[in-house]
């Protein structure tokens, strides 16, 4: 039950893109068509879902004072987290290149840039600061990835539709995407403060 709570909270209420504005770069640049957005969204779910438990194990058993070395190594957190994330992304890159060259070409520079997707590192840092348990960290990773996936699919769908609208030429594309995201962010703010746990107990 707690697993589900964390998942729903991460996906809808504390959506990484729309509530914290993390991972904006690839969100804005790869949301021109639903197909590529779908691929990137899946890649982000996969990377977040894998890196989150690995980083949990690292911060719990290697970096904390009660861990393997018995020394407080938290100053190494950034470098170790980013190394885990980078190797996972490289893995995803190889898999995508092997099985779907079309998707690989479409994602272009933004596949390696998942590494520097703030949502991934930011998610790991949130996980540490909120002191999640192991199962919660998996739920948070998958939920956060799913929320990111939803947000990029939503904006991609809106952008596909808005191509046929009469937008001022200078605002077309990127400018409109920024304003739309701002509006979506305001809309999602209404979900803040909902606590799924309180419904579960009733």
């Amino acid at each position: 039950m707690e697993f589900l709570n964390t998942f729903i909270k991460a996906a809808f209420i504390e959506n990484l893109v729309l509530a914290y504005f993390l991972g904006m770069c690839s969100y804005l640049a790869v949301s021109k068509s639903v197909n590529t957005a779908f691929g990137l969204g899946l890649a982000v779910i996969f990377v977040l879902g894998i890196t989150m438990p690995i980083n949990w194990v690292i911060s719990e058993y290697l970096l904390s004072e009660s861990g393997l070395f018995g020394v407080d190594l938290t100053f190494l957190r950034f470098i170790l987290f980013i190394a885990v994330i980078a190797s996972m992304v490289q893995l995803v890159e190889m898999v995508v290149e092997k099985f779907s060259p079309a998707l690989y070409a479409a994602l272009g520079i933004f596949l390696p840039l998942i590494t520097v997707n703030c949502a991934i590192l930011g998610g790991s840092l949130f996980m540490v600061s909120r002191e999640y348990t192991f199962s919660n960290s998996i739920a948070f990773g998958l939920g956060g990835g799913f929320g990111w996936f939803l947000a990029i699919i939503a904006i991609a769908a809106i952008r596909e539709k808005i191509r046929y609208s009469n937008v001022p030429p200078a605002l077309r594309g990127l400018g409109m995407a920024f304003i739309l995201t701002g509006l979506m962010g305001i809309a999602f703010m209404s979900l803040m403060g909902i606590d799924p746990a309180s419904y579960a107990s009733n």
Binding site: C118, L121, G182
Partner: protein, 236 residues
């Protein structure tokens, strides 16, 4: 970047037309935020006040410049498969330098920025420039490219910060030694709205403090920039 490395022998620290272009291009035609769409996260998060945006801009200029320099120096030794990890280690160590320096120089602003200083590591603009430019160009050019992109990033950051701070808080450079109070209801403000009939209508706009406001402002900046610079207009 269509530009390729120049083959013939040339002096190490040349500063000609091409080099000047590397610095000036990112300010308008190839701006990292409004054209290349890199490094948006921190642009949204730190710009509610001008002073933190200014410190952030300097930190990013330092990191982009030196990470490009070092990556370009090492570019022929980095195997393609592990290039991201090597680049990230370079960036992460530079960010650690920035973080510790800032902690020593100005602790309050360090506390205010701490998370976002760490997130410079994942600021796409640093990594994006390394992948797109520094891996294929000589150290000096890459350094200038990094500095130029840092400047273009900082310019947008400070413009957004100024707009958000004036409308959201009624002040400018709050928290810094040269703090200015422009409009607002407090007695020591530059224009006191309780006395001045002209600004009596003004109440702080809380929307400007939200991250969503940064999205609107950047959207409008893009609109303005593309109205003047029509070759950037998205035709698709």
């Amino acid at each position: 970047m269509a530009e390729t490395a120049v083959k013939e022998k040339e002096p190490l620290f040349q500063f000609g037309k091409k080099e000047r272009q590397l610095l000036s291009d990112p300010l308008n035609d190839n701006n990292p935020i409004t054209v290349q769409v890199l490094g948006i996260c921190s642009a949204l998060a730190v710009t509610s006040l001008v002073y933190p945006s200014f410190v952030m801009a300097i930190a990013v200029i330092f990191v982009t410049g030196f990470s490009s320099l070092f990556t370009s120096m090492l570019r022929s030794y980095i195997p393609k498969q592990v290039r991201m990890i090597v680049q990230l280690v370079i960036i992460a160590s530079l960010v650690t330098v920035v973080e510790l320096t800032l902690k020593y120089l100005n602790y309050p602003i360090y506390k205010q920025l701490s998370v976002y200083i760490g997130l410079i590591i994942t600021n796409c603009i640093v990594m994006g420039r390394l992948e797109a430019f520094a891996m294929a160009n000589k150290p000096w050019r890459s350094f200038l490219d990094g500095i130029g992109n840092g400047l273009g990033y900082g310019a947008i950051l400070i413009i957004v910060g100024i707009i958000r701070e004036i409308f959201g808080k009624g002040s400018l450079f709050a928290g810094s030694p040269i703090e200015l109070k422009i409009i607002g209801p407090t007695a020591d403000y530059f224009i006191n709205t309780t006395d001045s009939a002209m600004f009596g209508w003004y109440a702080n706009n809380n929307l400007m403090v939200l991250p969503a406001a940064a999205m609107f402002i950047i959207g409008i900046l893009i609109w303005i920039q593309r109205s003047y610079n029509t070759k950037l207009v998205d035709v698709s």
